[in-house]
């Protein structure tokens, strides 16, 4: 097993120069290496996994209890009040949806752009997307005052001819997020089929054979199946691509369509999308660095992969920084007193601590990625990815809470303070996310076996030294 030499100058898509997958693996070694993590006997599951799972599932249970109390007692257990009708629940929703963006971006957009380095991280990222969207989807459901009738947001035909309000961005949200979730799931599952078949074939006990067999949908790896598979994958990638842009655009409409100063701004859609990709990549980075270390997958997720992700974070981070600056400029240029006041208050008012946390984490921290040394420094990028996610959470907090707290009439201004339940449910949502993620690591191949095989040199047996030769 080779280690990273730190000298790879090859950019992501140049297959054939420095290999994307190091260690010169064979097809079967790839299969074996990835499948064995999943195929471990229960008893041999690493202790660390059990400890981690114990912690995260406890967090999840604690969160469930808090949600139970929330539904029993009322939204009042949160710190919401009159001007700030939305607080942590909505912040968390946007935060998790944002995190859910990297998956689709990596799977779909990078796929369409033939960015082959994505194969090592796409499964991972897609799984993360789905779990993040699950966490995100939970919050709008529980944050409404009467959660038991939250289904009224869906256009369900009923005898009373009640129909949702299609002018409301919250309704658009319902459609955007549910579509995104559905497509992400499909995409992930379709990508999983060949690998599930591999696991089925390698299964040594009946249960595994049956379970993986069912989900493998009779995959035999035949030529026709591969043809259909590739087409389906391509089409799904095509469908998913606009969703990357649309979901967070629609989420940003929740704010941009409102009249609240600090919300009502046209820059929100691109700004939110950039921010979402930013935070999504940061989260992928956090998880990848850990998983790569624990499962010794350095050959698959190489330093080059990580560097590519850091570059994307640098780009999106700078875009977000630009958006922050632009908001201030427009507030000044637009001459609207309410808008001006909200931005001055963000920077200097009672929430300035949150604002400057956001700016530091989101704008200053990624700037260090201009330097190659930082881009390839694993401890630094791990810390940076966490800081970025903290910053992105604060970005949503700043947008949601500061704008509401100090809007038009100074008489209603107030200061929002979260309660233990706001904080607890947010922490618990990490529990849920990580629990799902740990289950994923344990039971499904965390790297797309079939796809990774496609980017190693052996996948191109026809004299790859001449592979550029079209006539051949």
């Amino acid at each position: 097993m080779s280690t990273d030499n730190g000298n790879s100058k090859i950019e992501s898509n140049s297959v054939g120069c420095t290999p994307l997958i190091t260690g010169n693996p064979t097809f079967s070694s790839i299969t074996g290496r990835i499948s064995e993590i999943v195929e471990l006997e229960v008893k041999k599951t690493p202790k660390a996994w059990f400890i981690a799972f114990g912690i995260t599932s406890t967090m999840t249970m604690a969160m469930s209890a808090m949600i139970g109390w929330l539904l029993w007692e009322g939204t009042g257990i949160w710190g919401l009040q009159n001007p700030a009708g939305w607080g942590w629940a909505i912040v968390n929703f946007v935060f998790w949806v944002g995190i859910g963006h990297a998956g689709t971006l990596i799977s779909a957009i990078l796929f369409l752009f033939r960015q082959k380095w994505r194969t090592s991280i796409n499964r991972f990222a897609e799984a993360m997307t789905i779990f993040a969207v699950i966490c995100a989807g939970m919050f709008p459901g529980i944050h409404v005052g009467r959660a038991w009738v939250a289904y009224w947001m869906f256009p369900l035909p009923n005898q009373m001819s009640m129909w949702p309000n299609f002018r409301s961005p919250l309704l658009w949200d319902v459609f955007a997020v549910s579509t995104y979730f559905t497509v992400s799931c499909l995409f992930w599952y379709v990508g999983l089929i060949p690998d599930l078949a591999t696991l089925r074939d390698r299964a040594t006990n009946k249960i595994r054979k049956i379970v993986y067999g069912i989900f493998a949908l009779g995959w035999r790896g035949g030529n026709r199946q591969w043809q259909h598979y590739e087409k389906a994958y391509l089409i799904l990638a095509g469908i998913a691509t606009p969703l990357v842009l649309s979901v967070h655009t629609v989420v940003s409409f929740d704010f941009a369509v409102g009249v609240v100063p600090g919300w009502h701004t046209t820059i929100f859609p691109p700004y939110f999308v950039a921010g979402a990709i930013f935070s999504g990549f940061a989260m992928v980075m956090t998880l990848a660095v850990i998983a790569r270390k624990i499962y010794s997958l350095e050959d698959f997720i190489t330093l080059n992969h990580l560097e590519c992700m850091n570059k994307i974070m640098l780009v999106t981070g700078t875009m977000v920084g630009y958006a922050y600056a632009c908001e201030f400029f427009i507030a000044w240029y637009g001459g609207n007193v309410y808008e001006q006041s909200i931005f001055i208050n963000r920077a200097k008012g009672p929430y300035s601590w949150a604002y400057w946390t956001m700016v530091t984490c989101n704008v200053i921290v990624p700037q260090l990625f201009w330097f190659r040394k930082f881009r390839r420094n694993i401890p630094w990028m791990f810390v940076a990815s966490i800081l970025i996610n903290i910053g992105m959470w604060f970005e949503r907090f700043v947008i949601t809470v500061t704008s509401l707290s100090q809007d038009f009439l100074p008489s209603s201004w107030d200061y929002y303070v979260p309660t233990v339940f706001d904080i607890g449910i947010f922490i618990g949502s990490f529990g849920l996310f990580l629990t799902l993620f740990l289950l994923f690591l344990r039971f499904l191949p965390m790297i797309a076996i079939a796809e990774v095989k496609g980017v190693i040199p052996q996948a191109d047996p026809h004299h790859y030294e001449h592979h550029d030769d079209e006539k051949h």
């Binding site: 009159n82 009640m162 961005p169 201004w413 107030d414």
Partner: protein
């Protein structure tokens, strides 16, 4: 008798008081027995009232329509259904068919299993025989009277199926003129207070009235024997013919007994001053409607002084810009603390309470210098008290110009000297009988601190050993140096009549529950001598007695109903001729018409006046330096008697916006002296405030300190009425008991105060944290004279882009289209509308903690901003209900269309459809939407304090026409849609067109200043349309194109040129 009584009560309760929750099922399967009321049976008191009512009903010959006719609640009860009535038993006797069985089972599973947990099912009993005047769902209105000490309020009470639900002002009564204060209106919640005392108590165990009477009879004969030696009665001050008659009878029965009146907040100094000048303690009525120049010396006549309701009403008349143009009244206000009167002033001078006397003298000197004859000043050399101030000149010349149309008033905190001198000034300015009238308080008995002091010393040395306390709560509110509780314990017999088993009751041998005024018969005389009747709206909810009934029992040892006592008084001395006919009319109107006792031809006794002033001269030199402490009655809980009223506790103070607490108010400069962090005040983040110790004449009190700009420096103001320990669940331990440092020598204010911070902090809840308007055009104002010329208000509205909509917007042109205007020029910020709305719309109380979060539920709030200089800022107020925007931002963001526009332009909430996303509240630029974070009304309107256990009694206070909102739904001002619909239904059934003014919102109806107009804006001749056409009219945040239906009329100022040019 008592069992009969109980049964009676029960039936009554089930018949009459169906709450809003109880309307769901009407199923009755058991036998109903109505009490036998034949005359040979023992007749309970209640029964007696019924019979009386019935006989009156039968006599009634002039039957006008029932809706217009307000008569006694007892008069519409029939006693004809006196025999046993059996209702057919529909379910249990008959064999149950299969179908029936399935139906029952199905229903019970559905109801019990699913909805049962959310919607309480209760069974009610329908009328067996419908009372004649009651139409279920149609409220009746009755006139009655409320007294707080000598202050009398004529009210009209709305009654739904026999339970009073809403208090309004009586249009005919001169103290109210159809308007009602927040205290008036909130008193209905006190009626249904579950903490009220429910039975007679003797040494902490339950007793009965009958046993009390037999106990008293023993004592009575003993007392009678020694002519009442050692017996004393302590009451609150009152103004009531019947009570005065009984007082005189009592003193006749027990000539040696003492009768003492004490009120912690009273007009005693005013009467003292008036008596000092004239020889008699006349009652003073100020006609603010006729005054063009008003000088208020520490007189908060718009809120905390006597006759504040009618004062606001009259003040707004002379402040009416449209009628009087640049000649609107000019108000000068000199005061130590900030009052709402001060906020209305054109010129306000913060001056320490103890120095106002000097100012008054200086004003008198100034006037004398300008050749106004001020009687009584001749013998005093007052030159040393001249104020070198441009103010005095301006005021004096204004007052002289407005001779006969000016008015100088002094507040009840000021000593008699000031009141006497004010009277002299008014007399010199020929204002008497023009803007100020004096009446003989024929029926009133005023509070006297010296009498009380005598009583206490007699109690202490054993001269008095039997004390009867009729009303009041002296253990809590007596001056602390009297050691009242220690002396009370020395009594052989002590009897306390009060609505609560309170601080005093717990130290007396006997406690008798006092009836609420809505359960009582009584009478009262207002300041101008108008007589009115207190008539009950409901039979006493508990076995309580009125003061009159107790006093009668004490006088004669026999039981007599309040009804009889009052009728006796009136038939004997007030309307001896054709009593029955007049009586009915009086009950209907609530007052005796045209009974204005003649204006006393007031003569100032010069010699007496100068003697009096000379004798009080010491006060002038006493107005020393150093810190002073001022005691002020609370605008919310008054002297503490309303402490257990959740509505009032949660009512934001008009100045500080504090709820659920009292504080020590100080000015920023004074605060700096003791190193208080001024940044904390007006900051959004502050929840905890510093505690301060007040060292006052050897006593100390820890209280949170709160800084308000515009207060006089070196003056600390505290409100009375908080820190109760035995008021009930709501009021216990709310705030700090300032009576603990209030001595008889410093009842209103006193110097030699020392303060220091304790180092502790204390959480306070405010409804508004931020104090400045940030230069935004929210409350806009102009100087009246220049507004006439240029028509511009400041701050100017911001430039806005063209507001032409992109698409064709809905034309709201079909009549009616509802709209509202709020005249900020006359709005005093008195909070009457807030309580009116709370009462009308079943708005719950959320408690201090929730209110601190900003979760108070008021549908109309009063915003308060400080503008101008830090040292003497102006204060502006703005009531903010829902704006009912035509382009409502809340409507388009609701995902389930729970908030919509109706065709009459109302922005309506569909509670059933609301899922509680709170998006609408976020998107409301005015932040008028209120969210039910919890089930605030689960057990009643005070659920957050009293718990979720259903408070059946409190539910009775709810308006059945308004849905009670459950948790998780948004709510907001509806423009009183229930009243709109009632008005439309009424006009339809009457076959008449809806007239302007037929429909009044609750806030509009009660606003003492008449600041709120409401009506159809498509009708050009409606009041609201005319208001909207005025130049002063503007909408809040209009540049956002929300097209609000509620608009504001700008504030008009009328400053004096002389003062303006100096400053």
């Amino acid at each position: 008798m008592s069992s009969l009584n109980n049964k009676d009560n029960k039936t009554t309760s089930e018949e009459m008081w169906s709450s809003v929750y109880e309307r769901r099922t009407v199923k009755d399967s058991s036998k109903i027995e109505t009490p036998n009321t034949e005359l040979d049976a023992p007749v309970s008191r209640l029964e007696f009232l019924r019979l009386m009512g019935a006989s009156m009903l039968n006599n009634k010959d002039n039957k006008t329509t029932s809706e217009e006719m307000w008569s006694s609640v007892y008069e519409r009860r029939t006693v004809k259904d006196s025999s046993k009535i059996e209702t057919p038993n529909t379910e249990l006797d008959a064999p149950v068919s299969r179908l029936e069985f399935l139906r029952l089972m199905g229903a019970s599973i559905t109801l019990a299993g699913f909805t049962g947990c959310r919607r309480p099912l209760e069974h009610i009993v329908p009328y067996v025989k419908q009372p004649e005047e009651i139409i279920p769902g149609v409220p009746l209105h009755y006139a009655t009277t409320m007294s707080i000490g000598e202050d009398v309020f004529g009210l009209v009470v709305e009654s739904h199926e026999g339970r009073p639900t809403k208090i309004e002002g009586n249009e005919k009564h001169p103290s109210n003129l159809g308007k009602a204060s927040s205290l008036n209106q909130a008193s209905i919640l006190s009626l249904y207070d579950p903490d009220r005392s429910k039975s007679v108590m003797h040494d902490e165990s339950t007793e009965t009235w009958v046993n009390f009477i037999s106990y008293w009879r023993q004592l009575y004969t003993q007392m009678k024997g020694n002519n009442g030696d050692g017996l004393a009665i302590l009451t609150e001050s009152f103004s009531s013919p019947s009570l005065l008659r009984l007082k005189n009878e009592f003193l006749k029965e027990f000539p040696k007994a003492a009768w003492v009146c004490y009120d912690p907040v009273s007009n005693e100094t005013m009467y003292e001053g008036i008596a000092g000048a004239t020889g008699k303690p006349f009652k003073q009525v100020n006609r603010y409607d006729k005054a063009e120049v008003i000088v208020s010396l520490d007189c908060d006549f718009l809120l905390t002084e006597t006759d504040n309701v009618v004062n606001s009403h009259n003040f707004s008349k002379s402040r009416n810009f449209e009628k009087r143009k640049s000649a609107i009244n000019r108000l000068y206000c000199v005061e130590s603390t900030y009052s709402i009167t001060g906020s209305m002033a054109d010129h306000r001078l913060p001056l320490r309470c103890s120095e106002i006397i000097k100012f008054c003298v200086a004003l008198a000197m100034e006037l004398r210098d300008q050749a106004v004859p001020i009687p009584g000043l001749d013998k005093i050399d007052l030159n040393q008290y001249r104020f070198d101030h441009s103010w005095l000149k301006a005021i004096a010349s204004d007052l002289i110009i407005a001779k006969g149309k000016g008015l100088v008033v002094a507040g009840k905190k000021q000593p008699g000297f000031v009141h006497a001198l004010v009277l002299a000034i008014n007399s010199g300015l020929e204002n008497i009988n023009k803007t100020v009238h004096y009446y003989e308080g024929k029926y009133s008995q005023s509070s006297s601190i010296s009498d009380f002091s005598n009583l206490v010393s007699k109690m202490s040395n054993g001269e008095v050993n039997n004390l009867i306390i009729l009303g009041g709560n002296p253990v809590y509110n007596a001056p602390v140096d009297f050691n009242f509780s220690t002396n009370l314990k020395k009594m052989q017999t002590s009897i306390h009549v009060s609505p609560y088993y309170d601080e005093t009751s717990s130290l007396t041998n006997w406690h008798i529950p006092q009836s609420h005024f809505l359960e009582s018969w009584g009478d009262a005389a207002s300041t101008d001598g108008t007589l009115s009747v207190i008539q009950p709206l409901i039979a006493p909810l508990f076995s309580s007695k009125t003061i009159l009934e107790c006093l009668h029992a004490i006088c004669y040892g026999t039981d007599k109903s309040g009804h009889e006592i009052v009728r006796e008084t009136w038939s004997n001395s007030i309307i001896p001729i054709s009593f029955e006919k007049n009586w009915r009319q009086i009950l209907h109107d609530g007052l005796l018409p045209n009974n204005h006792s003649n204006l006393s031809s007031l003569k100032i006794d010069r010699g007496r006046l100068s003697k009096y002033l000379l004798s009080q001269q010491g006060l002038l030199s006493k107005a020393g330096t150093g810190l002073e402490l001022v005691f002020q009655s609370s605008p919310a809980v008054f002297d503490g008697r309303f402490a257990n009223n959740g509505w009032l506790q949660e009512l934001p103070d008009p100045i500080t916006k504090l709820m659920w607490d009292n504080v020590a108010l100080i000015s920023p400069k004074t605060a700096e002296k003791i190193n208080i962090d001024l940044n904390k005040f007006g900051s959004l983040k502050t929840k905890n405030y510093q505690m301060m110790t007040l060292f006052f004449h050897g006593r100390e009190l820890d209280i949170p300190v709160y800084v308000i700009p515009g207060l006089a420096d070196d003056s600390v103001m505290v409100t009375l009425g908080y820190g109760r320990t035995k008021s009930g669940q709501i009021g216990n331990n709310v705030g700090f008991d300032t009576y603990k440092i209030r001595t008889s020598a410093n009842l209103n204010y006193g110097s030699d105060l020392k303060i220091s911070l304790t180092g502790n902090s204390y959480p306070l809840s405010t409804s508004q944290d931020y104090r400045k308007m940030e230069g935004r055009p929210l409350v806009r104002e102009a100087v009246a004279s220049s507004f006439i010329n240029n028509g511009t208000l400041t701050p100017a509205l911001p430039m806005s882009p063209d507001l032409t909509p992109l698409w064709k917007s809905h034309k709201y042109d079909k009549s009616p289209q509802w709209g509202m205007t709020i005249d900020l020029n006359v709005c005093t910020g008195c909070n009457a509308c807030v309580i009116a709305c709370q009462s009308e719309n079943n708005i719950p109380v959320v408690g201090k903690k929730e209110a601190g979060y900003g979760r108070e539920m008021h549908w109309i709030r009063i915003d308060r901003y400080f503008t101008g200089s830090e040292q003497n800022p102006k204060m502006v107020k703005q009531p903010v209900p829902c704006m009912h925007c035509e382009n409502a931002p809340c409507e388009q963001v609701c995902p389930v269309q729970a908030t919509n526009h109706d065709k009459e332009g109302l922005n309506v909430m569909v509670y059933n459809r609301c899922i509680g996303t709170r998006y609408c509240a976020n998107n409301c630029p005015y932040k008028v939407r209120r969210f039910n974070f919890y089930n605030f009304t689960k057990g009643g309107p005070e659920t957050r304090i009293r718990g979720e256990k259903p408070q059946e009694l409190q539910k009775m206070s709810q308006n059945p026409d308004v849905t009670v909102r459950s948790r998780g739904v948004m709510e907001k001002c509806t423009y009183c849609v229930q009243r709109i619909n009632q008005g439309k239904i009424n006009s339809k059934t009457a076959g008449k067109k809806l007239k302007d003014g037929d429909i009044k919102t609750a806030c509009q109806q009660t606003c003492p200043a008449g600041a709120i107009s409401f009506g159809d804006i498509t009708k050009k001749d409606s009041v609201v349309s005319k208001m909207k056409e005025l130049k002063r009219n503007y909408v809040l945040l209009g540049e956002w194109h929300t097209k609000p239906r509620t608009s504001y009329l700008g504030v008009m100022r009328n400053p004096s040129n002389e003062i303006e040019s100096v400053s």
